[in-house]
Point group: C2
Chain length 414, copies 2
């Protein structure tokens, strides 16, 4: 029998206890051992719970108990979670977490600590909720050199964008509905500004390219500026707008970004709707594979946590197989030099003159018009692939010349 | 260094050698050992190959060589492949295969033999080509009790159906094009009659439910009867026609079948086109997750084979983690009792009388008409979910009564 302790009895923590309780028989079958939740630590007052008998506020009850060999950390954040994780690993306990912020921030240190102590530090649940993606990346696709990852990694924003796209609603109305349904938090910043997706693509990239990719080096743009008009243009272009997190090798550097993108309806990611997540992985042998599923939620996320626990039980005597090298210098590609096609909307001083200026600056731009949409006061156009810095300079030039009064939106084409 | 031998230098075998050669550095990194192809056995005369120096027709060269610890079997079929596999396992060598026929036929015996000899028998590549699905099922989703699997498991038929759906072509024209492109074999029976998908859903089900599901007990229907008219009706119903392999628990029995199905365009599987495969797995914690990618092809399939090899190298001292219990009795559910909704097209003796008979027999049937399609000589209708046997009886009754002269097609609704 393997005893585990859960730190943090929130949504994921309760889910972990529930999954282990509900599926105890098949879990014992698959892992070869019974898995038993011996303690749950949470500093809050919890009075009504099926786990009341094993709940405690005192972390020492876990650390004093040598029979507990695996710690599940579902506290979240980088405060107490960081201290508990370090202490657990240092004491020779395996740790499983769903905490993307902690992994993206202190991953290299914690993985090294795990290795030094001959234990595992696993975090399948930190990206894509229940979707198996971390293990497929380093195990199932191990024969491949991974060239790139493209994903929809945040369910909240995907729900909002799906709503806007299907119902023509604007951002704030869709956000309110997401909040009412519990898909968005009262303070939605981390989701709608792309911070959550940024941590996740940092983790996936670190696994895929076998070197730490610091989330602080990842260009991150949220969806707050996306409007109903943008959605109409997307439709006109045969696309939908998604918050896309991607990374790929450019030369020997890693280019990574999170931003809204026009995604062609022909591309499989365009069909990923509502709170679902999906990750497309490109490898030099497999071509492209996609992993799709619920990106959040109590039981799906718990499913990923418990899969890690089972994996540890099956390999209890080995230690962490993952390590992230840290390059002393910045290993990410200069985003201004990355080549991207853009969709741009501007408010012109005078339409025909502005169009001439746009053509002069951007060469083969394609103008997009939706006569029936009542957007006649603006110019929309697609700038072909070129270094992003050049496109941004071009926009500034248009403004400096006076041809354009205002930039209404600038959205990348995937 | 780990030495391996490849038996069968066809499409997949050459791919395995190529992937190991191309990605040797990263493979050594991930597996912790260099992997070296020491011998390739093929009974054919091969004169032009980058592997000419290690090619041999003599299997004994492998079995005499104690330094070879892993055998890759990419011969196919259940003749020589079966003998080589038994011999390799019995001699204490791990075996990796892409051979679905062998696994579906002799899986329980070969897995037992592997266990007895303390070695692995792995077959990720036998289902879904490059898509990681076997390992996700038994490892990444280990916390779940799997309720069901629904998949598009055959690339050839999916290519043909996609062609028919998008271009309005009929089956034989689409088949010819698939053959011209190398997506279908000269004798396409195994693909178009559903035999290939049947072996694959048998393997997936055996893994998911942890008991051997014999492919001979799986209802299997191919796509040869699907016509351009059926595709038009599908469109009218907001669906596409796909060859769907599925299995699920009904009570304590397993229901499994392969057949063309109307798949609603709202469902994620409807967007899986061309030669791509996808598998939706339902579990009691995760809900639904989908795995999508290239279902065949040299390098994708090799990618899955080599992932298994790497997994063995990382766990070289452990043995097979999979075993399939065989129930003495038939563990599959009586297909006539499975509840399914059907789309049915019949040629009536007289239209109004036939419609009355249909309504009498099937109750709440919905008639489907496409006035502009020139199909006025027939009646098409949807029968709501009920035991399949009842629906088949109903059709026979319609014929016996003389209301219906001929059944034009009977297609399941997913």
């Amino acid at each position: 029998m393997i005893n585990i302790a859960i730190f943090g009895y929130g949504v994921v923590g309760t889910g972990v206890a529930e999954v282990i309780r509900t599926n105890s028989h098949s879990i014992a079958n698959k892992s070869g051992e019974e898995i038993f939740v011996k303690k749950i630590v949470d500093i809050r007052d919890i009075t009504d719970s099926p786990d009341i008998n094993i709940l405690t506020k005192d972390a020492e009850e876990v650390f004093r108990d040598d029979s507990i060999s695996i710690v599940v950390e579902t506290i979240g954040g980088i405060g107490a979670a960081y201290e508990i994780t370090k202490r657990a690993l240092s004491s020779g306990r395996h740790v499983v977490t769903s905490n993307k912020e902690l992994v993206a921030t202190f991953g290299p240190e914690l993985l090294t600590l795990a290795k030094e102590n001959g234990v595992h530090y696993l975090f399948e649940a930190s990206v894509g909720g229940g979707i198996p993606i971390i293990r497929p990346l380093y195990s199932c696709l191990a024969a491949n050199e991974i060239d790139g990852i493209t994903g929809i990694l945040n369910g909240t924003t995907n729900y909002i964008l799906t709503k806007m796209s299907k119902e023509g609603s604007d951002f704030s109305a869709a956000l309110k509905e997401a909040q009412a349904k519990g898909y968005a938090e009262a303070d939605p910043t981390a989701d709608v500004e792309g911070h959550d997706a940024c941590r996740k693509i940092a983790i996936l990239s670190s696994i895929a390219y076998n070197q730490f990719v610091d989330y602080k080096n990842i260009v991150t743009e949220g969806i707050t500026k996306i409007s109903a008009a943008d959605m109409m243009y997307a439709e006109e272009l045969g696309a939908v707008i998604k918050l896309v997190a991607l990374s790929k090798y450019i030369g020997d550097k890693i280019y990574a970004r999170v931003s809204p993108c026009m995604v062609s309806k022909e591309y499989i990611l365009s069909n990923v709707n509502d709170v679902f997540n999906a990750i497309v992985v490109s490898g030099n042998a497999i071509g492209e594979a996609m992993f799709y599923g619920p990106g959040a939620g109590k039981l799906p996320t718990a499913s990923a946590v418990v899969a890690d626990v089972i994996d540890i039980v099956k390999n209890i005597d080995s230690n962490s197989r993952i390590s992230w090298k840290i390059n002393g210098e910045n290993n990410t590609f200069d985003p201004m030099k990355a080549e991207t096609s853009f969709f741009i909307r501007v408010k012109p001083a005078e339409k025909n003159t502005a169009k001439e200026s746009i053509e002069k600056i951007f060469g083969g731009s394609n103008f997009v018009e939706i006569p029936e949409a009542g957007l006649s006061g603006e110019i929309a156009f697609v700038v072909p692939k070129q270094a992003e810095g050049l496109t941004f300079e071009g926009i500034e030039k248009l403004k400096a010349q006076g041809a354009v009064l205002e930039t209404l939106n600038v959205i990348r084409m995937l």
